[in-house]
């Protein structure tokens, strides 16, 4: 609403200033760029995206292409990551698998943070039985580990698109974030700008959407970033047992499932190379999340160069 009521940390609500916004944006960018590890992480994430999506167009082998001249060959000039027992190219498989892992992480993170924001803000803002039932639901879902439930449900979605699987992953990811959002909402709804909006007759959902959620945008951005990496890890875990991504789709999880037994043999490259890229990907996403946390932290002033 009126600029006087918007808190200083608000990234969007200050209508008065394109200038104020851009200067905050510049401040955040500067803080982020100062962290070498975070910048390295961001660079690697971009590189992985290019690798996964542009790589197959450049590389001479495709993920579904067999090389009958090379079965189980170690890495060479012809096959950079070597080949599998059937003559598939491991690098091509890895690129294909990383596409799926990246997209699962991205879609899942957006959905999960979205659910968390909606549920948490509703619980905090409306209080009463809405609050109690959402909190009970959160507690219940934390007792029932998502891994087990998704595994149990896997026969149902196994024949269908992997999007169902992403949705399920997201449904079991939002609870802890929602708790934080709820407690942030609780303190924010006592602020003047929310009162002002309420007394002017702005409907509740609009207050949440326009005034409460933008004020925790930093937290939500960080959370979504961290969620990407934990969703990639969950995908690997579930697909390892065949409860996640199903053939003919390929993900990093199915690759690890197919090749982990080669790890102790001379043909361990089939496991180690995709696994190392996977670890590097998750690590880079985590570094970006960590860098964002520091860059967006409003309490990080001149001296606030703290690490999370």
């Amino acid at each position: 609403m009126t600029p006087a009521f918007t808190p200083a940390t608000d990234p969007q609500a200050s209508e008065g200033g394109v200038r104020a916004r851009s200067s905050r944006g510049r401040l955040v960018t500067r803080r982020f760029l100062r962290r070498r590890l975070a910048v390295t992480g961001l660079f690697l994430v971009v590189l992985f995206f290019v690798f996964a999506y542009a790589g197959p167009a450049v590389y001479k082998w495709q993920y579904n292409q067999l090389d009958f001249q090379a079965f189980l060959q170690p890495p060479s000039y012809d096959h950079w990551f070597g080949t599998t027992q059937n003559g598939f190219d491991v690098l091509a498989l890895t690129m294909r698998g990383m596409q799926k892992s990246l997209i699962i992480g991205l879609i899942g993170a957006v959905i999960s943070t979205g659910i968390a924001a909606a549920a948490g803000a509703a619980a905090g803002y409306f209080s009463g039985w809405t609050d109690r039932s959402i909190v009970a639901l959160i507690d219940l879902m934390l007792v029932l580990p998502g891994f087990l439930i998704i595994a149990i449900l896997s026969p149902i979605f196994s024949g269908r698109t992997w999007l169902v699987f992403v949705l399920l992953l997201a449904i079991f990811q939002w609870m802890i974030t929602a708790r934080v959002v709820r407690s942030m909402t609780l303190s924010m709804k006592e602020r003047e700008f929310v009162y002002a909006a309420r007394f002017m007759g702005v409907p509740s959902w609009k207050i949440i959407w326009r005034h409460i959620l933008p004020n925790m945008a930093s937290f939500l951005i960080i959370d979504a970033t961290i969620n990407i990496s934990s969703l990639i890890l969950s995908e690997v875990g579930l697909s390892f047992f065949g409860f996640g991504v199903q053939p003919p789709d390929i993900s990093l999880g199915t690759l690890i499932n197919d090749h982990w037994q080669s790890a102790g043999t001379p043909f361990g490259y089939q496991f180690y190379l995709p696994a190392l890229l996977l670890i590097l990907l998750v690590l880079s996403v985590n570094l970006v999340g960590d860098g964002l946390r520091d860059a967006l932290d409003p309490s990080a002033g001149v001296s606030g160069n703290q690490k999370a």
């Binding site: 149990i152 896997s154 149902i156 670890i279």
Partner: protein, 327 residues
């Protein structure tokens, strides 16, 4: 204080009941035991299949609520029903629970202790070389999927054996057959089998806890009461341990409860890679075999574990936080 604990216990019990019910119904909807019999060659006559499924309480022609009531009434007598193979779920669980607990207990306790100690130390020596090293290590470990970490360790163990020239650590199974369980050789053998799987869980617990403990310790270190404690004349170590660490441990209790569920999930991978025949392995097999009763029983077991961990963390909170004790 007693009232607080009782109220928490009642709440957690209700959650376990709901969790078990939900697991049963989800398993009953998703899993199809009939396919186990119909897939046989030659296919048995439908009446035989129906009779067998009825006997096992797995017939999808019986309304789900009736099957559930029958399962619960058995549960009330302490009978968790039959597996698809016709064995008792109780027997199977009794055997496997011991395996899982032996694996989980050591790994989770050592892991959380190491993590808490490292996190607290890192916070005290913030930005020191040890702090940087530990932050980096836990960051890397948290980026490794459990299954990959387990495979790494299993192979590192094999290489280690090769380097020292004899088999010091084993990477398959829980114990070697044929040894007396409580003899010195038997215990030694079990320890040799336990090292690598436990290390997997310890690394993860360490990474998880050290990051949280470091944050919660940092929040406390600057607090007035720590300065007051120093001003009263306590030594630095006393002020840090008795006042700062004690306060910083309180929020960790909640994490402990939830982490226990995660540790169980981690043990599913560990059991698979190191071929232990525990609850985790059974869970995967039960789903693959469409075993509704066993799956529901495992769901109850996990919910019970979380309840136990949650209650334990409540007791720790009560012990550490005088405000709760007094109310």
């Amino acid at each position: 204080m007693g009232k607080f604990l009782l109220r928490r216990l009642a709440y957690l019990l209700i959650l376990v009941v709901i969790a078990t019910t939900a697991t049963y119904f989800l398993a009953a909807v998703a899993l199809n035991p009939r396919s186990n019999f119909e897939g046989r060659n030659p296919p048995p006559p439908p009446e035989v299949v129906d009779a067998r499924l009825d006997e096992l309480n797995l017939n999808n022609k019986t309304p789900m609520v009736d099957r559930f009531t029958r399962w619960v009434s058995g549960l009330a007598r302490g009978d968790m029903g039959k597996t698809v193979d016709g064995d008792s779920v109780n027997d199977e669980m009794g055997r496997r629970m011991g395996v899982s607990l032996r694996l989980l207990l050591i790994g989770s306790i050592l892991g959380s202790l190491a993590g808490v100690a490292a996190g607290a130390y890192g916070a005290v020596k913030q930005y020191g070389p040890a702090d940087h090293a530990m932050t980096l290590v836990s960051f890397v470990i948290l980026s490794i999927p459990t299954v990959v970490l387990a495979v790494f360790l299993a192979n590192a163990g094999a290489s280690f054996n090769q380097a020292v020239g004899f088999r010091l650590v084993y990477n398959t199974g829980e114990y070697a057959p044929g040894l007396e369980a409580w003899s010195a050789a038997g215990i030694m053998d079990r320890l040799q089998h336990l090292v690598l799987p436990s290390l997997t869980l310890i690394f993860q617990g360490f990474a998880f806890y050290s990051r949280y403990q470091r944050n919660s310790m940092l929040d406390v270190l600057g607090a007035d009461f720590v300065r007051t404690a120093r001003a009263k004349g306590l030594r630095r170590s006393q002020a840090l341990i008795k006042h700062a660490l004690r306060t910083a441990l309180i929020p960790m209790g909640t994490f402990f409860a939830y982490e226990f569920a995660l540790i169980f999930i981690g043990s599913i991978f560990v059991e698979k890679i190191f071929t232990w025949h525990g609850m985790g392995e059974w869970f995967v097999q039960s789903i693959q075999k469409n075993d509704v009763n066993a799956t529901a029983a495992i769901g109850m077991f996990v919910a019970g574990l979380v309840l136990f961990a949650g209650f334990l963390s409540d007791m720790v909170t009560v012990a550490l936080d005088p405000r709760i004790r007094r109310s």
